[in-house]
Structures are given as C-alpha cells and as structure tokens.
Subunit: 345 residues, 2 copies
Amino acid sequence: SSLKIGLIPADGIGKEVIPAARAAIEALGSDIPKPEFYNLDAGFECFASTGTALPEETVEALQDSHCALFGAVSSPITKVTGYSSPIVALRKKLDLYANVRPVVSVAENAQEKPRVDLVVVRENTECLYVKQETITSTESGKEARATRLITERASRRIGRLAFELALGRPRQLVTIIHKSNVLSVTDGLFRETIRAVPRFAENGRYDNIQIEEQIVDSAVYRLFREPQIYDVMVAPNLYGDIISDAAAALVGSLGLVPSINAGDNFVMGEPVHGSAPDIAGRGIANPLASIRSAALMLRHLGYLNGADRLDKAVDGVIREGQVLTPDLGGSSKTQEVLDAVLKKI
Amino acid sequence: SSLKIGLIPADGIGKEVIPAARAAIEALGSDIPKPEFYNLDAGFECFASTGTALPEETVEALQDSHCALFGAVSSPITKVTGYSSPIVALRKKLDLYANVRPVVSVAENAQEKPRVDLVVVRENTECLYVKQETITSTESGKEARATRLITERASRRIGRLAFELALGRPRQLVTIIHKSNVLSVTDGLFRETIRAVPRFAENGRYDNIQIEEQIVDSAVYRLFREPQIYDVMVAPNLYGDIISDAAAALVGSLGLVPSINAGDNFVMGEPVHGSAPDIAGRGIANPLASIRSAALMLRHLGYLNGADRLDKAVDGVIREGQVLTPDLGGSSKTQEVLDAVLKKI
Ligand SMILES: CC(C)[C@H](C(=O)O)[C@@H](O)C(=O)O
Ligand SMILES: CC(C)[C@H](C(=O)O)[C@@H](O)C(=O)O
C-alpha cells in the first residue's frame, strides 16, 4: 500500500521549499512505501482568494492521509476580520500536541559556537495559543485580556514524549523550561506534572533520565552562553516558540531547523522558518529545513532508513559547504541545493 | 539637601554587589547631593525569618526616599505559601511602570559579536505579571489559567517613554516587540497604542522617530544574528524579561547589564542578573551591573556628571581587561573590581 502525504505549501517560500521536500522523498525509492502526494490549500493567500485560511477540504484530506508537510504562513500583523492562523488551527484540529524541533550543528568551523545538539519539545495546543482574548473599554482606555491555559493532561503527554525522546539520546537529560517563580500556578502545574511523569511510568522506564529545570529568561541566556548544557528541552507553547528560534540562531540559520507537529495518530513536518516575504519568489529559499522536516516525519512513522538517507544527504551538503543558499553565506539557488541533496540520497 | 537612597540588597550576591554600588556613589563627592543611605530588608531570606518578603517598613522608607537600589531575589521555584516575589510587588506598589535595560558592548575584541547598543524598554506592571491565576480539577485532571492583561494606559505610557529615550539616541528608532499574529487582541492593543503615540504627541515631537516591529520569536533570532538592527526595543513585560536576558548574552555577561525600574515619581536601580546562589558568599560576584544601575538611576534623576563618571570608570575597567570577575573570564574578586572602579572615578 502507499504512503499518503498531504502537501500544504501555504504562503511565501513555503511554495518553494515544500516541492523540494517532495522531490527528496520521491528519491527514496523502496525505502518507503510508494508516496502519494495531495496538494492542499491553506494560508493567507488562500484566505484572500477564498475567504478561509484553512478550507474544510484540506482538513478532511489530511484526515485521510498518513502524514503531511506544511510550508509557512504569512500571518498578518494587524487583525484581519475572519482570518485566523491555519497552522495554529491545524495543530488543534488534528490534536498535534507536540512540536518537536531538533537543533543540531553540523559543520565544525571557526564561526560556529560550541557544538549544539538539543531538541526543543514544545507543547502545541494550549498556553496563550488557546486564543481566548477579550477587550473592554474603561474610563482610562481599553483593557485587553488573554487566557493562558495549562492543563495536567497536556503537560503529562508532552512530558511523556520528552522523556521518551530522551531515552533514545546519549545524554538522557530533560530540562523543564518554565517561569514558575512568577506563574506559580500555571507553570507550577506544568513543572510538577512533568516531574511526576517518571513516577507514573511502568517498570521504572524513565528512572535513569536526569531532570533539570530552568527559568525561561535564564534558559535563553544560557542557551547562548553554554548550549551544550541542554539535551531535551520541554516547554509550554510560547516559551517553546521563542526558544526554538533562539536555538536556531546558534546553528547558523533558521533555514536549517526542522520540526514535526505530532499527535497520537498523525504527524506533520514543518520547517521552523516563516514565509519570508522578503525573499519569496526568488528561488533562493533554503530547502534544507523542509527536507529535514520530511526526514523527521518519516522517522516518526518508523521509516528509519529513509529518514537516515535524507539526513545524511543534508548533512553532507552542509559539511561540504559548496552549494549553500544565501542565508548560509552561499549564493546557490533552492534548485541547486536540492540537486546536491538528491545526488547524495 | 541630601539624596536619600534606599538600599535593598535582598538575597544572594545582592548582598555583595549593592555595597559596591554604594561605595561607588559615595566616591562621587560633590557631583551629587550628599547621599544618605537606608538599609532596607526584603527577599526570600527576609521571608524565611520574618514571614514577609516585603516588609511594610521597607515600602514606607522607600516612599520617603528619592531613589533606591535593589539587589536580587532568590525566588523559590516551588510555590511557598505566603511568599510572593518582592521585586514584582515593589514594581507595582511604587508604580515603577518602566523597566529600562540598556545593553551595550564595550570592549572591541575577537570573541565579541557585532557591536551592540540597544535599550530594552520593558513594561513593568502588567502582562502575565498581574499574577491572576486559578486552578480547578476536572475529570481529566487539573486545569490552571493565568490572565494576561494589556491596557491602553500602560501601553501608552511605556510607549511614550520609549519614544522619549529614542529622541536622545543617534539612531532614533523604536522597535515594538509583540506576538500579534497569535495574540491579536492583547498584543494588537499594545502594538497599536504604541504606534499611535507620535500622533498624540505635541508639536510633532516624535515625528522623526522611525517605528519598526518584530514578532517576539523572530526578534530573539535576529537579536543574535544582527543585533545592530535594534536601537530602542519596547516590549510587554514577559517578552521584555526574556529579551533583556537574551541581549545580555551578547555583551559577555549578565553581570554587566544594569536596569532601572522607573515611575513618574521614583526610580530604583537593579542589576539584571539574579541572586546567583551558586557563587553567593564567595566574594566573586561582578559588581559592574550594580554600579551601572546606580549610574542609570542618577542619570534618570538628572545627575548627569555623576552618572557619566560612574559609567566611564566601569567602561575603562572593562576595556583594560586586567581586573575582571570570573563571569568575564577573569579571576578578580568583587572588591578588587570595585577598587579598580573607585580608582578611575
Ligand atoms: C506563525 C506562528 C503562528 C507560529 C507559532 O507561533 O507557533 C510560528 O512562529 C511557529 O513557530 O511555528
Ligand atoms: C526574579 C523575577 C521575578 C524577575 C522578573 O521576571 O521580572 C527577573 O527575572 C527580572 O528580570 O528582574
């Protein structure tokens, strides 16, 4: 049987990097079941032309697929009536509760910081992303409020996933990121629930995993000063969003960092970079984060050989340093980088 | 008449760096009115021994002073009944609505990133720091909620202060940090209110200030990649907390970054670093952030000569690089660094 993969390029450079990831997957041949691709619509351009940023058909097609790749959305900064971020909505609709973002430095060169090898495990469905906001007018002007939701259930499942990932890594360390010195109730619940995960695990499964914790502001500071102290970082939604971008700065470019949005029944790869309107349409977007996201997606589905071949090809291209897009200091085009990867697959 | 200065060393290295700042102020002689110092209690140790982290006498003494210097608190990570962060409380009680954190690189050397010269203007009274949290039990476990408050009034006054600061700087640029692509109502209000500040200013006071904006995750990424794009960064409370620590990583050490908590009638200097329990009591804490905080406080009060002398002495010590604490790669003691500063004042 085939592997059904939904493709949602969405906006900007999403339209350039997702086709590259598709080509890389196609090059894998018999390492994976024959892929069947479905091109699906979503995003701000989709909203502008159809009135919805996430058509019902896209969600239905995904529910019929095994997995998906998402490009990037151009979120408007000002409120646009009727528009709501399709990536935030997809994470919730498909219950993709974990956003897993490995940040690893490849090349060993003078400009580079100490070797980075960490993975950010970001809770993907709650925190301020529940988007429950209100606004009222008072005598002294407008007052707006947003709700930050942290549940035991969501904290436990993201915690389990973090420990599970740590099991497969040499360092066996989980660092909980929070701000419970200020948010003692919400971040307190996040922190305690994750600390309790090993206690409820069967057969002492996580007993050898070391647990550390860091206050989010200090975590970002130390991330830049001593990234080697981190292995698996588990964080509520917003801190995870910020920390994964911060970590990306350490390895040279956002154009290198992949992610998966994973639930119990579905996985969606997504490069961590945005739609990059400044370079969209010029054929110079870095396709490596998307190809790595495809690898991460395949790995999550259990296709380890296919995933390894994609990752090794990408690592090889970076290490050789001959064919790189401008974000990495090169002058190659998306297509040239893709060709270099395909040659190595 | 004299200059009444409250001193609140609080916990950990606060007890080592605040006396150093005091000595530096005393060395200024006639550049400032004769200083009168009041040693005031607050912090976690104070809580442990007296049952309150912020005694009423401390607040009253501050209300009788012209200004203050605050050290650092050891916030417990787990909820301690009855304990609440005294620094968060002081900011609110004295309505110190602006947390101003200049981050500037001094020495020009190989390890250093591109020159950094920015100031983080952090709203200091609301956002998630209103600490309105609730927790309930449901069938699927506990659910905790926190309120994030953003008001037009607080956004306007922090915006005004950001523009006012930008007026005095060569770049004349204000960058608004927000996440209004997700928090369209709360961060939308923050962003729009600040954008509107120049429109309501008298005589086109801010007409030449350039306004930019950045989504917080991308702001942190770019802070590390191209810190030179920033001049004045204005942010809601929590983003400002994270961004100022991130910026500190760029200039070599948190031990260099000062701040003031400023309101319309009071100013309190505070080093950005924490209480550093790991090095407390060893006499090796970096006093420079506290001395710079004293300078910032004096500058805010209009004592420009005194402030300049402190800043120049600190810059000189850093540039010479002979007498530095371990956080900066040196092996000098707090007292030795202080002596080096005093010699230059
Ligand atoms: C586009 C935006 C809604 C999104 C987020 O905040 O989750 C992005 O920053 C990301 O990290 O995937
Ligand atoms: C100690 C803590 C409450 C405080 C804050 O979050 O404001 C600290 O991180 C700071 O930046 O001054």
